[in-house]
């Protein structure tokens, strides 16, 4: 699960901060800052036990109503109608009312002070998340007081990673991968260079590892398949699609310089060689101008209908449905992953996957009516039991366990998933309740990935490398450096497109020089210092030597 779908990060800005400060100033107690609100006592409801999840002990008779705000419009707000959420409802004796919205809506909560019990946001670097200690309850305290079992299911590394200055952790993410997860080999790669099998065979399965080989392969495709676009890539939008850091990872551009300082990978010689190659490919007419303008939807339509002969694809699972559609519509054809562009200096690929920061991040607010129940929900969803439920459903009803430890959906369920995904979502909803999801559970179920992408994921085995040291190393929001960086990033995004679309070699060099000059004019050396410092702090947090 990558960040492909992450909402456009609208920064919440000063308004929100001001409001937060006023709220904490005039809120009850007005302690604010690091002092956590006094947690209500359990009054004999149950005695917490470190070896048993509290939801099994809780004797509260009446159903607890929780409001849960998810900062995304696409979240499915149904609760208690499908197999998965019905079971959650029964086990925990809760009723969840989901509210969805965007940053504007989130603002109104902070402004109005009528906070929901649980809040899920999509950016652990946003102002809201940074200020969590002013409006959320520390998970460490909640666990200690109500549900010590939480510490057994929460990953230590992840908890440390999200520690705030007061030594407490307020939010817990999903899809946070620790070093141990990477070592275990259960995380599938999400990047691949893929080619249509019929095209691959027709042009004689050439190698495409060096710039020359790549160029000539593209030319061959154009002459034999004039109706196809030889080379495609993820929609660029306001970013770099799959031609920026994704391609850098594919080529294995180093993450840091030899002194462990920040390294500007965009100016790596090896990478620039490949950009020049892409420029040649473009000038040969093997990259469509549309690809630079297509939005995500347009790109997906092309994947679905097999318009691209080859794709540098990031977010393989997200395109699973589309790749599967292409495969289903063309039974004798499919996309396969092959070795695409390789480093010209012998680096090995260092593909990126979801890092330790994860994706969504969940908080329990200070206004939670029953914080004990809220932390029970966290524990439940984090535990193997809860994860088995949200990923596979109920044993014997929707899935069965095999002797080798893997699981598979029962035939009727599998059938429904293939033929009527809408009904599957309405009735079962497996694989959708992802607040505390983790890739290792997906790996247990061979049905959780569509047939079309299995080969791509296998191709990526052993090519992943954690990028932990590069996570959250940007200058703090609101500083001059942060503003410079955002200008630099925007410039890089347009520079990348201009480089690939250069009319002549001379243009290419001019564009590149302009980018370098822009760096010099915008505090670049300061940003590098800040990033190097933060990289060092990351190493300390995670105990990386």
């Amino acid at each position: 699960m990558s960040k492909v779908l992450r909402k456009k990060g609208v920064s919440l800005g000063a308004v929100l901060l001001a409001i937060m400060l006023t709220i904490t100033a005039c809120g009850s107690g007005g302690g604010g800052g690091s002092k956590s609100a006094a947690l209500p006592d359990l009054d004999g409801r149950y005695t917490p036990d470190p070896s048993t999840p509290a939801w099994k002990l809780d004797t509260k008779k009446e159903t607890t109503d929780l409001t849960w705000y998810v900062n995304a419009d696409w979240w499915n707000t149904d609760f208690g109608k499908d197999t998965v959420t019905k079971k959650i409802k029964e086990d925990l004796n809760i009723n969840i009312k989901f509210i969805t919205g965007d940053d504007t809506k989130l603002n109104t909560f902070f402004a109005g002070g009528d906070m929901p019990d649980i809040i899920t946001v999509f950016d652990s670097n946003s102002a809201v998340a940074q200020k969590a200690s002013t409006w959320a309850l520390p998970l460490n305290d909640l666990a200690e007081k109500y549900d010590p079992y939480f510490n057994q299911v929460a990953a230590k590394d992840t908890m440390n990673w999200f520690q705030q200055k007061d030594g407490k952790t307020y939010g817990y993410p999903d899809y946070s991968n620790t070093q141990a997860d990477y070592d275990s080999g259960t995380i599938p790669a999400k990047t691949a260079f893929i080619i249509r099998q019929d095209v691959y065979e027709a042009i004689g399965k050439p190698s495409m590892k060096t710039p020359e080989e790549f160029e000539s392969a593209m030319e061959k495709i154009k002459s034999q398949f004039p109706q196809l676009i030889p080379f495609g890539f993820n929609s660029i939008g306001t970013g770099t699609g799959s031609l920026g850091d994704v391609l850098q990872d594919y080529l294995g551009v180093p993450l840091e310089d030899k002194d462990g300082k920040f390294y500007n990978r965009n100016l790596d010689e090896d990478y620039l060689t490949w950009l020049k190659t892409l420029n040649t490919v473009y000038r040969n007419g093997d990259i469509s101008d549309d690809s630079f303008a297509d939005d995500g939807t347009a790109f997906e339509e092309k994947v679905k209908s097999g318009k691209y002969a080859t794709i540098m694809l990031d977010g393989v699972p997200q395109q699973g449905g589309n790749l599967q559609t292409f495969m289903t519509n063309n039974p004798e054809d499919k996309y396969i992953a092959v070795d695409g562009p390789q480093s010209t200096v012998g680096n090995q690929p260092t593909l990126n996957q979801s890092g330790i920061t994860g994706w969504m991040i969940n908080y329990i607010t200070k206004k939670a009516k029953d914080p004990a129940k809220a932390i029970q929900v966290f524990t439940y969803l984090l535990s193997d039991e809860g994860q088995a439920l949200v990923n596979f459903g109920i044993e014997g009803e929707t899935y069965k366990k095999n002797s080798d430890g893997t699981v598979e959906f029962l035939p009727a369920v599998k059938e429904l998933q293939l033929t009527n995904s809408d009904k599957f979502k309405k009735d079962y909803r497996m694989g959708e309740f992802i607040f505390f999801g983790h890739d290792r559970y997906k790996a247990l179920n061979k049905d959780s990935s569509p047939e079309a992408i299995k080969q791509m994921q296998e191709w990526g085995n052993g090519k992943l490398k954690p990028h932990f040291i590069l996570e959250n190393i940007n200058p703090d929001q609101g500083t001059a450096e942060a503003r410079s960086l955002s200008a630099i990033d925007t410039t890089w995004n347009t520079t990348l497109v201009s480089l690939i679309r250069s009319k002549t070699d001379d243009d290419f060099n001019k564009t590149l020089d302009a980018y370098k000059k822009f760096l010099d004019d915008n505090n670049w050396s300061k940003i590098v210092d800040i990033r190097s410092e933060k990289m060092q702090a990351n190493r300390e947090k995670l105990g990386i030597k």
């Binding site: 779908l5 308004v15 409001i19 419009d73 696409w74 499915n76 707000t77 509210i99 919205g101 965007d102 504007t104 809506k105 603002n107 109104t108 402004a111 109005g112 009528d114 995500g296 939807t297 347009a298 997906e300 339509e301 092309k302 679905k304 209908s305 318009k307 699972p317 997200q318 395109q319 699973g320 449905g321 589309n322 599967q324 559609t325 289903t328 519509n329 998933q417 293939l418 033929t419 009527n420 995904s421 809408d422 599957f424 979502k425 694989g431 959708e432 049905d447 959780s448 990935s449 569509p450 047939e451 079309a452």
Partner: protein
């Protein structure tokens, strides 16, 4: 004499030809995209995926509309949309007309102050958060009335109506007064009927605004039962975009995000297109012909 006439005739013909050509071009520029949207919304996902501009669909299908309407709650949303638009427009127009009527009278006490207050609201707004807090303390959050009450007043519309009322000859009002009519009767029986074009214009603008408004819902409503059509359709679109994210390894998906989006465009625009001709008859000038002998 004759020659002159011919020359004029030719001139006016050239002028007419030019006019007609220009208007035809402008009309086409407006109609072609609309046509494309309608035809595309009636096409199967496969046909749309081929891309390009569609004049006539290779494969007609109602799948996109089925995808939109399969959600039962859409009818509830439709009901909310219609009722908020009807009620909102009626109250808004009447309310603004009352204020406009009062402010059009030179002898109203404190008139200058009211006008100044009104003008300030045209240029300055409290901003999103203060307005939210106001709505919250008025107890309008999550109620149907949040669609109606805050939308009652718009000084901009008041000014338009006020100017219209000023054009009504004083003699008309005087004669009504002599016949024994009070302010209410004069307002309701004389001024409103005479100002129908202005009323209709404002009703149309306000109606389109009410119909298309989803920000109010986004900010103040969390109860799904109060969602208008716009919000519901927005959700449907967003969810159709995230289908692939859920790793549904489903077989052929009949619809595409684009198709669903186009279908929702048609569904939301249609009512306005239908209502416009009905309002057309009120846009007539010269109603006051012969009302007063000057």
């Amino acid at each position: 004499m004759n020659r002159k006439a011919i020359r004029e005739d030719l001139n006016s013909r050239v002028f007419n030809a030019f006019n007609i050509t220009l208007l035809v071009i402008i009309t086409l520029v407006i109609i072609i995209p609309l046509w494309n949207v309608i035809i595309s919304s009636l096409s199967s996902g496969q046909a749309l995926a081929e891309g390009g501009f569609i004049f006539w669909s290779p494969e007609f299908s109602l799948e996109n509309y089925r995808a939109v309407f399969q959600d039962d709650s859409i009818w509830q949303a439709f009901f909310i949309s219609v009722s908020k638009t009807v009620l909102g427009v009626a109250t808004h127009v009447f309310f603004c007309a009352m204020i406009g009527y009062a402010l059009s009278k030179q002898n109203l006490r404190g008139r200058k102050l009211y006008v100044a207050m009104g003008v300030i609201t045209m240029f300055f707004s409290g901003g999103m958060i203060p307005i939210y807090l106001l709505i919250k303390s008025l107890g309008l959050l999550n109620t149907f009335w949040v669609y109606i009450i805050p939308a009652l007043f718009s000084y901009y519309d008041v000014v338009i109506l006020m100017n219209f009322f000023r054009n009504v000859p004083d003699a008309l009002e005087e004669s009504a007064k002599i016949d024994g009519a009070g302010e209410w009767r004069i307002f309701l029986k004389i001024f409103i009927p005479l100002s129908m074009p202005a009323m209709a214009t404002i009703a149309l603008f306000n109606g389109v605004g009410q119909w298309n408004d989803f920000l109010t819902t986004k900010l103040y409503i969390t109860d799904q039962a109060l969602y208008p059509l716009q919000m519901k359709l927005y959700e449907i679109i967003v969810q159709s975009q995230t289908q692939s994210m859920q790793n549904a390894s489903s077989a052929v998906i009949e619809t595409t995000t684009k198709g669903v989006q186009l279908a929702t465009i048609v569904i939301t625009t249609l009512p306005i297109v239908v209502i416009y001709p009905l309002l057309q008859r009120y846009f007539i000038s010269g109603i006051m012909m012969g009302a007063v002998k000057e």
